[in-house]
Symmetry: C2
DNA sequence: AATGCTGTATGACTTTTATCATTGTTTACT
DNA sequence: AGTAAACAATGATAAAAGTCATACAGCATT
């Protein structure tokens, strides 16, 4: 795929050292990871792993943005979630020793470390705190997925799109201007999150713009009226 | 709620002794569970726990059928999944120490044991095999949830209803006649699985019947042409 | 047997959403 | 910078699904 091998940054001094799932590991464990892991540079669009293939380790995002997606009916991509700096990928398949149930691809230039299966399980087996953290990560994701199910089952496209914009804001934050969401997605990709047709996304985004809720410049979306966007999303809870 | 306290059946001799998540526990651990747990009889329709309240232990179904659901937009119920004999409930909230993210209710007369939080965590902490099994249960559910997301996002109601019937068959099996699905749900409940309006379920079920795919007698659904039902469901994979 | 309740069925209609076709615009590449 | 390819926008139309209204069936209660 033309992914360059990349000098692995040390785990001990990683930007995500204290925020990632590995925050509780001791120095020795981290040094071992640093020693045993590999690292790759992915260009925007490049595949990190593919649905159906088998995992041989854990991916940890050092830098960059990633989409995780499944191929649904007639090959239509469904984006399940996003991951960024400090997030780990592939742990679900690794834990259950099954092929990847989804694919992952870089959304920009990404630097991603790879911790071999054995290294990971060695630490997992000797560190009960990590086990619990993993379980909590899984339960969190499950909860998010269940909320998503309810929304897809019950909410109209308009509300789902509004909520998607809010989620993108939460996940990636703003540019320096404090209003432009720091992620570049095609209309088709947005449709593949929301679960609708590309044309519907285009039409509704135009409406939101006309109503002064957002602004559009090429692929970038700015939030002008957050309150109204939240109202449009019709969040339950 | 009028749930009767029920003489707790012993875990060591439970029907699900070798199939449940606790299959790997040793005799001593099971005897402790038997000693520390409680047990209740729930009548059809009774609530087991409610979204938003806090868990104080783990539920384990000794006998009966249960629906797990969330309250979505304007109180509309969304059924997330079903559980039956040998399945456990509430572990997600227990693990992450958060309020229940969904409710559970009995679909028939159900006998459900209750293992106190402490008893459960004591075993979890000393038994790494159980940790791994819990994680695998979570990953399995997450995988199912993700598949569900793709289907809700991409498949029409007709296909989702056909698939729902197949899932009900897989989950609850047939009556003695070998074709009638052994679960009694209202049309509204089916709609709350599929994510559609009650009338749409009624109409489509009538169509399926007219096409000779299923038969309907009151609330019970019989599968007449499984092949055609699978075709109608348009399963991806 | 009459009463009411809850759930099922069906028709008429509206709204939402998808699809198809066409044109214009941006992006990415050499 | 020029060019092909990918993407975005918009209108016309069709299909899917939801809503509303009404009627009917089944069942439990009195």
């Amino acid at each position: 795929m033309g992914n360059k091998n990349f000098t692995a940054p040390a785990c001990e001094t990683c930007t995500s050292r204290h925020t990632s799932i590995f925050a509780d590991l001791d120095g020795g464990e981290l040094v071992r990871f640093s020693f045993q892991k590999g690292c790759n540079l992915y260009k925007s669009g490049n595949t990190i792993f593919n649905e159906g293939s088998y995992p041989s380790g854990l991916y940890c995002i050092h830098k960059g943005k990633v989409k995780i997606f499944k191929n649904g009916t007639e090959g239509k991509e469904q984006i399940l979630r996003f991951a960024k700096e400090g997030d780990i990928l592939g742990y679900k398949s690794l834990l259950s020793d099954q092929p990847f149930s989804a694919s992952a691809a870089a959304l920009d230039e990404a630097v991603i470390c790879f911790i071999p299966k054995k290294s990971y399980f060695d630490v997992l087996q000797t560190n009960p705190k990590l086990s619990l953290k993993m379980m909590q990560l899984l339960t969190q994701e499950l909860k998010t997925a269940e909320t998503r199910i309810v929304e897809l089952a019950q909410k109209p496209v308009r509300e789902r799109l509004a909520e998607t914009i809010l989620i993108l804001k939460e996940t990636f934050g703003f540019e320096e201007d404090g209003k432009t969401i720091a992620i570049s997605l095609t209309r088709e990709e947005i449709a593949n999150i929301v679960g609708t047709a590309t044309e519907s996304v285009i039409r509704l985004l135009s409406e939101f713009k006309k109503d002064g809720i957002i602004d559009l410049k090429g692929r970038s979306i700015s939030i002008l009226d957050n309150r109204e966007l939240v109202r449009t999303a019709n969040i339950d809870d």
